[in-house]
Assembly symmetry: C2
Homo-oligomer: 572 residues x 2
């Protein structure tokens, strides 16, 4: 908090520590500004009320992780058996693992671990690398961590690596939000605070997300231990995210993501030692980061494709179907599978569906209008999150209201607000539509939809539709050739698909072809945690994808312009 | 410094910083004790005057290091070439390196490095691991570091990895001396200060040696830059030492080295990331630690064997000769090559040859008597280091004086001092021999040899000889079968071989069979730095060696008892 404020009240003094007060922590309900002030809302204050998308489609896949658990009873050193601790460990492993390598923390800790366990251990390998030694008794739960780091939200899953059970799950806001709401502003922060010892912007952003994940790990372990006293050893982690989140988590440079031609530092799958990052899993643990496809199509999209396009088989098995799969966000990643070839692109759909740039836009928090209907008699019905009095409108609500306004002839096909409806009021500038009146809302201001709001949504939905159309053209097919249309991600879960079609964001398709699959990236991350097969598949998919760069695509401008308007009203 | 002392003088106040004074730093020439005091002599105060053994036998070997230097001109990213930085780097490398892996520091730094170098680089690989990226222009000297970490002394070499030239060399006292003069006392220190966050004894000992090496690196770079302005990038390091020094440098547990049956934590060759240890070489650099053979036969002995037993060939080529090679120290490691089999042992020869447990014993510093002759007329001749007035006697001197006393009939074969010589004086206990009189010495006390001193040397030389005899027995051969007898190490360089034979420390052999080779461990370390072949050879040798444990050997006590006495006087 910067600027002049009223002094801290007794309540505030009781709420905060001296350090916190000194650092400018205040209660929004107690402090009065006495000048212009800059307010930072700490991420932990944002976390609780916001709806997080944790659930993804569940699917049973065989448990055959990259991690191998090898129980061993090792002969004790004696005057007639003077082998070194590692030689006797390796000899006990025999041919089970070839070309054994040892992660450094095991070199520094194995000797006492072996003796404390009385040489009766489980050796944990990540491929051929020894990453952990656990006593055989009492047996620990051997677990892995799957994480989907979104620009806004983070979802984490604690998974039993021996039977595939999800032991706990937890979500949070991405703590990097304090440094910028979107990818670009975080890259800018990193560029503006270049490498300079320990204080670079990149390092700070990395520390924040890692600290956050370490807290999530603690939360999940506490949850698990409410019902179970077994020690849990987290021996593996898979972290997915868009390319920028992937890079900032891994500590990789992002400058080149912020300037044309926007290439990733690394697109190959990498295993990063957890200790290099500070992620608190087993000492020698490695964090698997799946491949990225391009600067704006990241490992999270690969994970989503794994969870949606493939059925588990012992070989790379592209479906014969023609499938569109997309995840709507500030950048919307879209893939088209056709004729065993995947075409992918990223389209700049902007933050309007997250409530930004919309006058009464807000995130999916209590009081947000999330559903809207305008009945034939012109009556307006809406539903808010947690049934609170409305204070704003979130992404699914704004999509609804625009589709309903259009079908109720309050909007024309260009997005102009027409004057037919009693809820349309004139302003000094352009007319606006009153969605909730002053006496209905929580803050006693009318929640309105402006021409500018509608324009923002037109730009967003136009970008998404143009991306889909370009991919269809690349594959030389038509809308009717699509067998399945998969909408992944938090926003995609909550939207009314029919309304998305009515405004032309999606092509018009029979309802049975469309599937809303929830956090498919998180599901894909769990697949890669539980199955080496899916890691191999991820690398093949990322290699074989035909990436379509829209920014210099000859047809993009034409498709985008066409997609800005609303289509013919041919839906019920 | 602990205890009551006189206040700091003006000289001391001028010599030390306030911090140093606060930490108890004092000048020995200025401070007077006013109670019992404990004095720590900082290693830097020990360093300068002591003789260090840097030179080893030089030998030309082909330069074919583990490090590979690959010059690359990489296509610049563009809108039509969106490959990630690493994909384009890998593509440029092509099939030159298969299964490229990337050390973490390169993942976090390569993107700006590539751009700063305008994509015109040298990629440095350690086997298949990318460890460094250097700009092609201006060209840097690509160097490696070879280090022999002795319990007492450390020798380091900076070597050009492209042509094999030694660019600089430097030595120091092992800074761990402050924590104990010998291996056992340092292991005890580590055991007495167990793991407890950042302050464990093991971590402190590791930090001290690494800090010392980092200073040596700086010294060598400064030396080099006196004549040359080229940037030097140190991309590789080989560190050898006895098993305890190896473990303490690597950060490996040493508790099990301190209790029976004294097994190493690790005996295999390992590559440890330099950043894990804190060694200041290139960011992604790996430190190669050669294999150990046993708890008291370490990587330094392997290195010595590489430098002495093998000629360079494209395959493991044991000589047909029968060779004994040994390095005398507190523990003396001895190897016997016979019939293409190496037998090795370690024998507890004690610190007498380093001047410990000898009444006027001292290290090889100025004023130490290092050579002694007693002429036929009974006259005593000696030589001191730096020709200073004598103040004590170092290892080579005590070996000489005992051999000369024996051959002058001042000692009998059991080591009793006889009363024939004017320099033998009676004391309350046993008679002692006056090597330098009060008026000859620097401190105006006579330098004498006591019965107890002689006994210490008998124990030491007996242990060494017994080790040699046991190995001969294991190979079922006799002294006369020995074709070569190689004496390595600093002490071995300075001793009079004939005197070593006269007292029976070595078997009697023709002079032409005996070679004093200097710091062969350092030479072996340089071989492993310059040649992957020697690394492979090290692992094969360590695997194939027949290690003989003396502590439970049925013949050891008998051989040791026999070897305590002096042999027949059959040498000139």
């Amino acid at each position: 908090m910067q600027g002049e404020l009223s002094s801290a009240t007794i309540d505030e003094q009781e709420t905060f520590t001296e350090d916190e007060l000194h650092n400018g922590y205040r209660l929004a309900c107690q402090a009065y500004p006495q000048s212009d002030v800059i307010i930072d809302v700490p991420p932990e204050s944002l976390t609780t009320p916001q709806r997080l998308q944790l659930e993804g489609q569940q699917a049973d896949i065989p448990v055959e992780p990259a991690i191998r658990i090898i129980p061993l009873e090792i002969p004790i050193p004696s005057i007639t058996d003077l082998r070194s601790d590692f030689t006797r460990l390796k000899d006990a492993i025999g041919t089970t693992i070839s070309q054994v390598e040892i992660e450094y923390p095991l070199l520094t800790s194995a000797s006492p671990l072996l003796r404390d366990a009385n040489w009766n251990i489980k050796a944990i390998f990540n491929q051929n690398k020894l990453i952990s030694i656990l006593p055989n008794q009492p047996p620990a739960v051997i677990a892995g961590l799957a994480v989907d780091v979104g620009t806004t939200k983070v979802a984490a899953y604690l998974v039993n690596l021996e039977n595939g059970d999800t032991l706990a799950q937890a979500g949070m806001m991405n703590p990097q939000i304090a440094f910028g709401e979107d990818v670009i502003s975080r890259i800018s922060y990193a560029i503006a605070h270049p490498e300079d010892g320990e204080t670079s912007g990149r390092k700070i952003l990395q520390e924040r997300i890692v600290e956050g994940l370490n807290k999530l790990i603690q939360t999940m372990l506490e949850d698990f231990h409410q019902k179970n006293t077994q020690h849990v050893e987290i021996v593996d982690a898979v972290v997915v995210g868009n390319t920028a989140m992937h890079h900032l988590f891994g500590g990789f440079p992002v400058q080149q993501l912020g300037m044309a031609p926007y290439v990733p530092a690394v697109s190959e799958a990498v295993n990063v030692p957890a200790r290099e990052i500070g992620l608190q899993i087993t000492k020698g643990g490695l964090v698997y980061l799946p491949p990225n496809i391009a600067g704006y199509v990241g490992a999270d999209h690969v994970a989503m494709l794994l969870a949606t396009l493939f059925q588990y088989r012992k070989e790379l098995a592209y479906s014969n179907k023609t499938v569109v799969a997309l995840d709507i966000g500030t950048n919307t990643e879209i893939s088209l599978l056709h004729n065993r070839q995947i075409y992918s692109c990223s389209t700049a759909s902007g933050p309007a569906f997250e409530g930004a740039h919309i006058q009464f836009g807000m995130r999916a928090a209590p009081g947000a209008i999330e559903r809207v209907q305008i009945s034939k008699d012109g009556q307006i019905h809406y539903k808010t999150i947690a049934d609170q009095p409305p204070v704003g409108i979130c992404g699914s609500g704004i999509l609804d209201v625009i589709a309903e306004m259009y079908y109720a002839n309050i909007l024309d096909e260009k997005g102009m607000i027409l004057n037919h409806h009693p809820r349309v009021r004139k302003t000094e500038r352009l007319p606006e539509f009153i969605l909730a009146t002053e006496d209905q809302t929580g803050h006693h201001q009318a929640v309105v939809i402006t021409r500018r709001d509608i324009n923002e949504i037109q730009l967003a939905k136009g970008a998404i539709r143009a991306g889909i159309e370009i991919l269809l053209k690349e594959a030389n097919i038509q809308t009717q050739d699509i067998d399945e249309f998969i909408v992944a991600g938090a926003f995609g879960t909550y939207i009314d698909i029919r309304n998305a079609m009515r405004i032309g964001m999606f092509p018009t398709l029979p309802a049975e072809k469309v599937h809303q699959v929830g956090n498919a990236a998180g599901t894909g991350a769990r697949y890669m945690l539980l199955s080496q097969f899916y890691r191999d598949l991820a690398s093949r998919v990322a290699n074989e994808i035909h990436y379509v760069e829209l920014s210099n695509h000859p047809k993009f401008t034409e498709e985008f312009s066409k997609s800005l308007f609303f289509p013919k009203k041919d839906l019920p």
